[in-house]
């Protein structure tokens, strides 16, 4: 089964620091999504990325967030100046023929 790979699995950062989360979606997929999940809560949409451009974003995805494709296969989610409330699991997901395949996630802890 195709996989979505995320790194790191866990990152601890100090408030105000920049973090970069990485994702390798299912190969040859033009579409992928970033979601986040605050501990014990629902999965929330952040941004969708299609063919090297942001196609849609939520109100959570403010100026502190950015998405890039630094090379042909990797995608990054950058948080410029982390806040305590950014602590969450961050998932990227690739849409398949049916449903999404989620990556294993990055647990971000802001202290």
């Amino acid at each position: 089964e195709p996989e979505v790979t995320q790194t790191p699995s866990h990152q601890v950062t100090q408030m105000g620091q920049e973090v970069i989360l990485r994702c390798v979606p299912i190969s040859n997929h033009l579409y992928f999504y970033w979601y986040r999940q605050i501990l014990g809560q629902k999965v929330e949409f952040l941004v969708s990325f299609y063919n090297n451009e942001i196609s849609e974003k939520s109100e959570i995805f403010d100026d502190q967030f950015s998405v890039e494709r630094p090379d042909g296969s990797n995608f990054t989610l950058k948080i410029r100046s982390t806040k305590l409330e950014d602590s969450a699991m961050y998932f990227c997901a690739s849409p398949t023929g049916f449903g999404y395949t989620f990556g294993s996630g990055t647990r971000l802890t802001v202290v």
Binding site: Y33, F45, E56, F91, G99
Partner: protein, 111 residues
């Protein structure tokens, strides 16, 4: 626009059945169901489309009432491995559109 799931939590003994509901106030094109184990990524179970098409795992059954904009996930003869949080995700249009997830239903199956 967030779908409403019920119940919030349910405890079953092995072999018992459960129904998890997901309802929306908006007209839906599709309903997705995912199961998430603690500390893991959501895993796709099933998608139900407007018009009656369904795709998913053979052992999972679900329904989608287009008139009521309600979907139900049926878990029969539950096993310990069914434990986890079940999320429905909804989309109002077809194509690669981000899902809006409900708050989840926590299912615990005990021996």
């Amino acid at each position: 626009q967030q779908p409403v799931q019920s119940p919030q939590a349910v405890i079953l003994r092995e072999g018992e059945d459960a129904v998890i509901n997901c309802s929306s106030s908006k007209a839906l094109y599709s309903v997705h169901w995912y199961r998430q184990k603690h500390g893991e990524a959501p895993v796709f179970l099933m998608i139900l489309l407007k018009g009656g098409e369904q795709k998913g795992h053979e052992k999972i059954s679900a329904s989608f009432n287009e008139k009521k904009q309600q979907s139900s996930l049926y878990l029969t003869a539950s096993q310990l491995s069914y434990s986890g949080t079940y999320f429905c995700g909804t989309a109002q249009v077809s194509g690669n559109t981000p899902l809006v997830f409900g708050k989840g239903t926590r299912l615990s199956v005990i021996a």
